[in-house]
């Protein structure tokens, strides 16, 4: 890049930063640091069941999502369709990667997988169950504490990539985590989400009463249908718990597929490091 172009791009960059900062300071993005938007205040005052019932009155129960965690109730109840289609975007990205991968043959494996040194392997064996337990607790507590299906899926996706780095990709395949099985569990999660979203409509067709798509508790105008807020005495916030669970399945196995795709087998790397050769230039 020549000097004039460098100066021009630096000036343009500084101008962009200055313009954006000035716009933000002049109130172009709403109030900074003080006050709360009325929509946010509405979510805060209706999502926790205690506030909605005791303060606003029993007629506001239908507006509540029966979850003390306001962010999760926005994600899966108030703006549920938004999240539904963001999930679609997410899995379209994964399907894109799988489609590019189509037709590339798996290398034939010659030697058993060895992986890194025994110290690292022992520590990893200790770490993986902790990782899975934390991810499951993030998913299943998503309606009570900060967390949810997306975050839990991203947390669990750390496990396959650590196993790939420490034990090699073949270890994961030998333990049964293949691309086909991951695709199956991901599809099961997605079908579960679609079912939870569509059950009110199916129920509406069967019973003849009115119900909305993605309805959680009863809403004004559709009083007849609502998911159970408590299951065996424990608060599960209606559909939010099920959606978190299925999203957890779908996201974690979706990431597992991607990590299986972008990783290169240890055997290939070793033979390339030892011998080199024409076909190894692309790694």
């Amino acid at each position: 890049m020549s000097g004039v172009r460098k100066v021009a791009s630096a000036v343009a960059l500084l101008a962009i930063v200055a313009a954006l900062s000035l716009g933000a300071a002049a109130g172009g993005m709403g109030p900074f640091f003080d006050g709360i938007r009325s929509l946010g205040a509405f979510y805060l005052s209706t999502a926790p069941p205690q506030i909605a019932e005791l303060v606003l009155g029993p007629s506001y129960r239908g507006l509540s999502s029966y979850s003390p965690e306001v962010v999760t109730s926005i994600v899966w109840d108030y703006r549920g369709l938004d999240t539904y289609f963001e999930t679609a975007v997410f899995f379209l990205a994964i399907i894109g990667a799988v489609a590019i991968y189509r037709g590339i043959e798996e290398p034939v494996l010659r030697r058993p997988a060895s992986g890194l040194s025994p110290i690292v392997r022992a520590v990893t064996k200790f770490l993986i169950p902790i990782n899975i337990a934390v991810a499951a607790s993030i998913a299943l507590h998503g309606h009570l504490t900060p967390g949810g299906g997306f975050q839990a899926g991203a947390a669990l996706a750390v496990a396959p990539i650590i196993v790939i780095v420490v034990f090699s990709r073949r270890y994961l395949l030998e333990r049964g985590v293949t691309k086909l099985k991951a695709l199956f569990f991901r599809s099961a999660g997605l079908i579960g989400i679609a079912l939870v979203v569509l059950i009110p409509v199916i129920w509406s067709v069967i019973s003849g009463e009115w119900a909305w798509v993605m309805q959680n508790q009863w809403k004004p105008g559709a009083e007849a249908f609502s998911y159970p807020a408590y299951l065996g005495g424990a608060l599960i916030s209606g559909s939010i718990w099920f959606l978190n669970l299925f999203e957890f399945l779908a996201v974690s196995f979706g990431f597992t597929i991607l990590f299986l795709l972008i990783s290169i087998d240890e055997d290939t790397v070793r033979s390339c490091m030892i011998r080199g050769g024409e076909e190894c230039d692309r790694y």
Binding site: M1, S9, L13, L14, I16, V17, L20, S21, A24, A25, M29, G30, F32, F33, D34, G35, I36, L39, G40, A41, Y43, L44, S45, A47, P48, Q50, I51, L54, V55, P68, E69, V70, V71, I74, V75, R79, T83, E86, V89, F90, A93, I94, G96, A97, I100, Y101, T145, P146, G148, F150, Q151, G153, A154, G254, F255, L258, I262, D281, R282, Y283
Partner: protein, 125 residues
């Protein structure tokens, strides 16, 4: 006499936009695809931090998780949950899109043997 509160707020906003500018510069000006991807990640994370900052309440913001306070105190003090909900999905989508881009870059490298966009331009596809 400088008002320290105003100074901190100005500093945070300027630093965020400056980081966004660095990310933008990397995406536009760096020739290597790996550096473009890194810059794209910086840009996305900065925008996410900015969105979180929009919902923050400066004196005494508490997390939007109801833990049994008096209701008026909860609604009056909790930070705005809406930007957090949007950023939450944006982070995961960003991670998936990043993985797709990295996978495409990997395949490009396997096909062409380089990720330098100046060299890829000269090659025949």
């Amino acid at each position: 006499m400088i008002d320290i509160e105003v100074f901190i707020k100005t500093f945070i906003v300027l630093a965020l936009f400056g980081t966004a500018g660095v990310g933008l510069y990397g995406v536009v000006a760096k020739p290597h695809a790996t550096k473009k991807i890194i810059s794209l990640t910086i840009l996305g994370d900065t925008v996410n931090a900015l969105a979180i900052l929009l919902g923050y309440r400066y004196p005494g913001g508490i997390p939007p998780v109801y833990t049994g306070q008096p209701p008026n105190e909860f609604v009056g003090r909790a930070v705005d949950p809406l930007p957090q909900a949007l950023v939450l999905t944006a982070i995961v989508i960003g991670m998936a899109v990043n993985l797709l881009i990295i996978y495409i870059a990997l395949q490009t490298y396997r096909l062409y043997g380089t990720l330098d966009t100046r060299l890829i331009k000269k090659l025949r596809g």
